[in-house]
Subunit: 438 residues, 2 copies
Amino acid sequence: MAKPSKISGFPEWLPEQKIAEDRVIALVKNIYESFGFAPIETPAVELLSSLGSKGVIDKEIFTVQRLKAEEGDKAELGLHFDLTVPLARYVAQHDHELVFPFKRYQLQKVWRGDRPQKGRFREFYQFDIDIISRNDLPLSCDAEVVTVITLVMEALQFGAYTIRINNRKLLAGLYGALGLDEAARKAAIIAVDKILKIGRDGVSKELAKIEGISEAAITTILRSTEIQCSVSDLPQRVAELSIASPLIDEGVQELVTICALMPEKAREKIRIDVSLARGLDYYTGLIVETTLDKHPEFGSVISGGRYDDLASEFTDQKLPGVGVSIGLSRLMELAFTEKLLSTAKKTPTVALITVYNEAERPMLNEVAQELRESGVSTEVFYKSPKLGKQIEYAEAKGIRYVVFVDAATRQIQVKDITTKEQVAVPSIRAWADSIRTR
Amino acid sequence: MAKPSKISGFPEWLPEQKIAEDRVIALVKNIYESFGFAPIETPAVELLSSLGSKGVIDKEIFTVQRLKAEEGDKAELGLHFDLTVPLARYVAQHDHELVFPFKRYQLQKVWRGDRPQKGRFREFYQFDIDIISRNDLPLSCDAEVVTVITLVMEALQFGAYTIRINNRKLLAGLYGALGLDEAARKAAIIAVDKILKIGRDGVSKELAKIEGISEAAITTILRSTEIQCSVSDLPQRVAELSIASPLIDEGVQELVTICALMPEKAREKIRIDVSLARGLDYYTGLIVETTLDKHPEFGSVISGGRYDDLASEFTDQKLPGVGVSIGLSRLMELAFTEKLLSTAKKTPTVALITVYNEAERPMLNEVAQELRESGVSTEVFYKSPKLGKQIEYAEAKGIRYVVFVDAATRQIQVKDITTKEQVAVPSIRAWADSIRTR
């Protein structure tokens, strides 16, 4: 027998934290569903050959193998490291059973087969939405996905936030017009992506390493990263760079259109940021990141973008998509550490019925069931010790109401632990309604 | 590029099936929470040394290892194969942070590292509740857990069902009084547990293999399995076996007490069945199984029982518990195959707003947001083809209402796809309220 201990990188919440996480999940799910995103869930594992597509076999992957596998058997399965590869495989596999545009949300754990490192999660929740279409996908979908982000951030109430959007066509157009070839453009995107971490000077040094890049190009790229503005100022600010190309115009026009398609309340919350690059290879249009103003070091809370061809590894069909991901577990850890939400409740129980003596328990169980059916989560205390013990239990678990039932008259008194007020409750249903609206 | 295919034993639902599964989950979760069970979630992995406790290393386990592990590194982690071992480890580990009695529910995938076999799940959801106490746990908790089962089965509406309960003390008392030692009693429980599969004669043959068992003992054990009755008849029926011991009395008395503590509505749904044995080693009191009358071959939908000492592998503390588990994924597969629930909806969308031309889209997005804020999940069609195409999309996804907005007057008409009725909607909020109550 050994006292069990934490496995590094595999977070595990206490009940009060899980209750808080479930509140966040319900709130996000509610917004996703209000836009018609449907839930899917894929197995924890994919074939290693699927996970290794798009060259991401470099990712740290956990393999999965039967304990009783024969000596020398090669692992064929791995835990998924994101929800994008499973989505691509799912859409390609169930192609004929899905109705397009396919709008899905997916909340699942993902795993990174890293070495244990302090502060690094090897298991965490991602909470994604994507819209996948056949052949072409209008910008209305990009606008919808960004609108969803604004609603999620408003609902979370984690303080001031900034949603920044940019467009890969704009970046490719700018860098191309400055003479960078495809490989150089990719390297420039990776360099610019680090701007928050390494600063302008750092980016400048990284850019200088790109083969064949000119001093003038570096200067213009750095100037472009200063374009952080509202969408109405964007065309003018880009024009001031004094470089032009059809791809630049297309990128600017896409951003203008996406913003125009958003409801005004959402549009007001968006900033254009030409320094936003995002590292991942597969974005081809819109890119988006969201940061909490008080926690810039945390990085992006919700991010994503558009990709022209989701499932090219699995199907001949062209399946463009746009989507974003919430790194939920990391966000919850921040919320717990920074006390961004309440973890006062260790139980869903709202009312605790006290027990004077065991003979009353069957009657109290009937009262409890009436409360439950009125929408009030209710416990009958499991034993019948002194009342003080029972009230202590309610306090320890964050149960707000303690209920006393008179066995002879069945009259009910309720004490509110937060206000210390005690009142008579003539009707359970009326009382239930009154506390639900509080 | 290869068309992806199913990995045997890892079920994957279509969106309409996942929506149906989520409805079942919400319904069960709501009942669990109404009794004050709090959610917890444990990592997918445990140390292999933890999974191997209680001798269950014999179980088929999937090991988890970094793809980049060094040659010859031994796997240290495994995917959990149930939620009971993780619960035991969790309670022992977080001991001082939990308030007892600890009532938790847990909905997670579990994995069995079997060879691929037809019809056998290697990944599936379990949906468990348990009440864990320190030192002693009153029978009120057993009564509560069985009450919860009755409410879940009522809510599922999967047809007629039978909840059978028994008590391991009663079995141990009977078998002990018949001269069986501990090893023989265990063997007898395993034999009786097979009665639905192999019948009375099969059990008789299995019992005959037990060393030192008498003909008379076999006869009496078989007679005892015929005791299938209401709780009020139990004492008389057991007395008719003409064997007595304090443990028999204790088992009978526990069953009587548990039933007395249940609300009458729940008690009426329970049958005592002395042929119920359950294979698992760790039960020490109440045992319970639930079957669908039309699908006996499916086995138990919800089952569990009481165990005296949950976490003896992890702590010196005595932690008795009582709980049950729903094998959710298997149940959903049955529900899909037997059409026990509707899978008509491929989306949470309730209303589809049609688009005549793209210029109207921003205005339609505002109407959509008003509908969403009134609680109606709403999509604006992503393009603006002929109306017929848009209505086809609603029909294909199971979206009930198609909405037409007059751009000039902003007047709204709604067509109900199921009734073909089309009506004018003067107030979005009033209409939203009216369809929510339908």
